[in-house]
Symmetry: C2
Subunit: 485 residues, 2 copies
């Protein structure tokens, strides 16, 4: 297919592409700005096939820089801005990024000591443009365009290789599901470095609809946009939705063009859903992950009321099945779809291990289907915790703490939390002669891990509950007596 940005600018030059801080940019203006930026990047020796890491919030510069890297034909490595120096260092090295582009308005102290070329996004603007630069003519469905890192139960984080085809089929499936029309626009407050955010940018190019880009989660500002502007769709995780609802004054509601909250990032409580129903705010629940390049399952409007609690049906391009189900029909969710990623960078064997012999991707999630093939999520096969839309793998956090002298054993679990869905809490046992305390342990974690991964609380216990074979029985931990450290 032709380059989506140049094609969209040719098809609808005067339509609004981006709304940032109440300023509109048309697709022609967006394209011109991105190409200028790309030309300067090209002059700075970034070429097709290179990898460029992006360290940005949802800023205008970040939006432009990201699309510019794509226009050159270089691969975008998205960095989660909340990660620690160690975590970022690994991802930058693993990806072989030639350059890190850093958003000016962001604290980037975690990057200071990492040995890689770095450029502030604004610095690039004062550079020369290249005369020989040309945007790529085509977006090849099989070519990788974005790399996003995910953690997991096993060791190192994995760079998920997402192709243009992945993004295309994801956007296609969603357009059928949401019946995108000319009046639609999408509010992007979920981060660009997550697939939930970046996928909005790609949909905008494919559908030709505007993005309201929101640089930080300021609930007052967001509600102003939802109430006073013509915004029609917003992607939210449950934590954000609750804050928006809490901030609504009596009698206030979203604008008349508003169509739905598109909800991802874990389960939502029934009370919040009920509040949305009373306000007549449709909530489209969905299910997806970085490896499936955004959603593979979503509710539709007709069934949103009838199927409360379900994530919906597998989208048009998606095959979904439940493998090894138990007596209640609960089993492993497996996915086959053209939006399943190409693999893990440098660790193809780990991706291969998640594929069945007939080409289905084993999500690691548990779920069941009702008689009409609507999916209900029943948790994780592993012990992943979802906190405010971010995934936390206990093993990764436990490994960081395991190095501490005197800490005998540690087990991380998620405990329910009204604001975040879950928060991580650590149960530990210590040597009798160890001098450890909670605040120090938290400080230790904050120096080495993204803050959302750090246990909120350390709970000292006598002994871990174990299986017959000596493994920790995580689900028994909430029955064990503990003392907060």
């Amino acid at each position: 297919m032709e380059n989506w940005l140049t094609k969209r600018a040719a098809l609808s030059p005067n339509k609004v592409a981006l709304i940032y801080q109440y300023t509109d940019f048309t697709f022609a203006e967006l394209n011109d700005t991105v190409q200028l930026y790309a030309s300067k990047l090209f002059n700075d020796d970034i070429k097709a096939g290179d990898r460029v890491a992006i360290f940005t919030g949802n800023s205008f510069n970040g939006y432009i820089a990201t699309l510019a890297v794509q226009q050159i034909g270089a691969e975008i490595v998205f960095l989660n801005t909340r990660l620690s120096e160690d975590e970022l260092s690994f991802q930058i090295t693993d990806s072989g990024a030639k350059l890190v582009l850093i958003d000016d308005n962001l604290d980037s102290s975690q990057l200071k000591n990492i040995d890689v070329a770095k450029t502030r996004m604004s610095e690039l603007l004062s550079m020369d443009r290249s005369d020989s630069y040309q945007p790529v003519a085509e977006f090849d469905n099989d070519a990788v365009t974005t790399i996003m890192y995910t953690s997991g139960t096993s060791g190192r984080p994995k760079g998920v290789l997402q192709t243009f085809g992945n993004h295309f089929y994801s956007a296609f499936g969603m357009s059928l599901n949401l019946r995108i029309n000319d009046e639609d626009s999408w509010v992007m407050t979920v981060p660009m470095y997550h697939i939930s955010g970046f996928s909005i940018m790609m949909r905008s190019l494919l559908y030709g609809i505007p993005v309201y880009l929101i640089d930080k989660f300021d609930v007052d500002y967001i509600n102003k946009i939802l109430i006073n502007e013509r915004a029609s769709i917003i992607s939210l995780v449950p934590t954000m939705l609750k804050r928006c609802l809490n901030d609504l004054k009596p009698g206030q509601n979203f604008n008349s063009n508003f169509r739905c909250v598109f909800l991802g990032g874990g389960p939502i409580d029934n009370w919040t859903l009920l509040r949305c129903q009373m306000l007549e705010i449709p909530v489209i629940q969905s299910y997806g992950m970085t490896e499936t390049c955004s959603n593979v399952v979503a509710l539709n409007f007709e069934d949103a009321q009838r199927k409360v609690g379900s994530s919906g049906q597998a989208l048009f391009p998606v095959q979904l099945r439940i493998a090894e189900s138990d007596a209640d029909g609960i089993g492993d969710i497996e996915i086959k779809a053209p939006n399943v990623a190409k693999g893990y960078l440098n660790q193809p064997e780990l991706f291969a291990a998640k594929m069945t012999s007939d080409g289905f991707y084993k999500t690691g999630d548990l779920g069941h289907l009702d008689e009409e093939n609507f999916l209900y999520i029943n948790g994780r096969k592993d012990d992943m915790i979802i906190s405010g839309g971010e995934n936390i793998y206990p093993e990764e956090v436990e490994n960081v703490y395991a190095k501490i002298d005197g800490l005998e054993s540690i087990a991380l679990v998620g405990v329910p939390n009204d604001d975040w869905g879950q928060v991580p809490v650590a149960y530990i046992t210590v040597d009798s002669d160890a001098f450890l305390n909670g605040p120090d342990l938290i400080e230790y974690g904050r120096n080495r891990l993204a803050h959302y991964k750090v246990p909120r609380e350390f709970r000292l216990i006598e002994a871990m509950p174990l299986t017959a074979s000596g493994k920790i029985l995580r689900r028994k931990l909430d029955e064990v007596e503990f003392e907060v450290m």
Copy 2:
């Protein structure tokens, strides 16, 4: 991707899929009926990879039978029901069809003497179903699903190999252009055996919208549907549109859900467009061909008034360029798109000859782009005539007549016609001692060619106008004195 029919039936079982003679069929009912039919075909020894020729009008049985062949994984060979015995015989032999499925309500005398297995569509219904039949699990983008024959300047007709991917990207491009929504439905009166008709069937599965299937062009019946039902889109060729307009009574207009006439099959006159404007009937002009698996260029709603006379912009997945343009910017229209067909059956070299070294398909049409990249068609490089939406290649007709004793030379040209756009007329020179007359020559043609290809009139001239190198100068023929035979 998953099998589109079974997927659609799973996603929206209770939505209307097909409306035939005022009777509704849901996607669940359509799927059940198609699978039953496919099971019987399978029992009749039709397997994946076989080719099955379909000889049908726009009947219910034809609709079901066509989808059933696709469900088995066999390739559909569409036969134009207006072709002569010679023409059909060639296509059936060339395609190696294992079976011809014949619509019961159709005169099929042209097939009588052709040596191939034939089954009436209704006969199959009394056969046994197979217990081992399973529909194909997936529609592979690279797999051929339909074969449609086109004539051309050179010798034999060519079977165009159309893949699932071709149909998919065509439907995707159209959905963005027309902003398909839940309330849409598509009236299918153009024949199923043309890409303009079959593409509606594939869009219905992908978008989940109903098709109004119309079995013959009865203008009274069609207008009833456009006026009294909720039909929103109709594909028409100019001839048909004019008839519908002529049949409207003063004060009558199409229903309030009607969105547009989707117009293909050659140019339309300004008077007809003006009438549509006065009636506030949006006309979306478009451009496409069998080899590009339906439209590659179409107008959109915003520009329909502003760009009257243009076929529109290249659809999202389509790259279009004008090669070797003259001083007025008029040149060869070339297309690169994932909906360009895979090739010609048994004649790959002919398709290869139409491809440029950088992967563009040379359409053989002439056109130019305005400053906003809207396409205007300026005719054909060759001398193809379009009559009522059917393509006629003069060389094919001339070759049939060239065998007649005493007929010295013949040249076919299209002359303007209010009803059909163009009709074919033959200029001939004869030996001085030949006894030929118009009615006999017409009769001769009707026995050997589809009737729409037969010259309406034979015009006797003294001598052909020739180029310096001795080739017939077709465009000078309208200046030559003639006598109607």
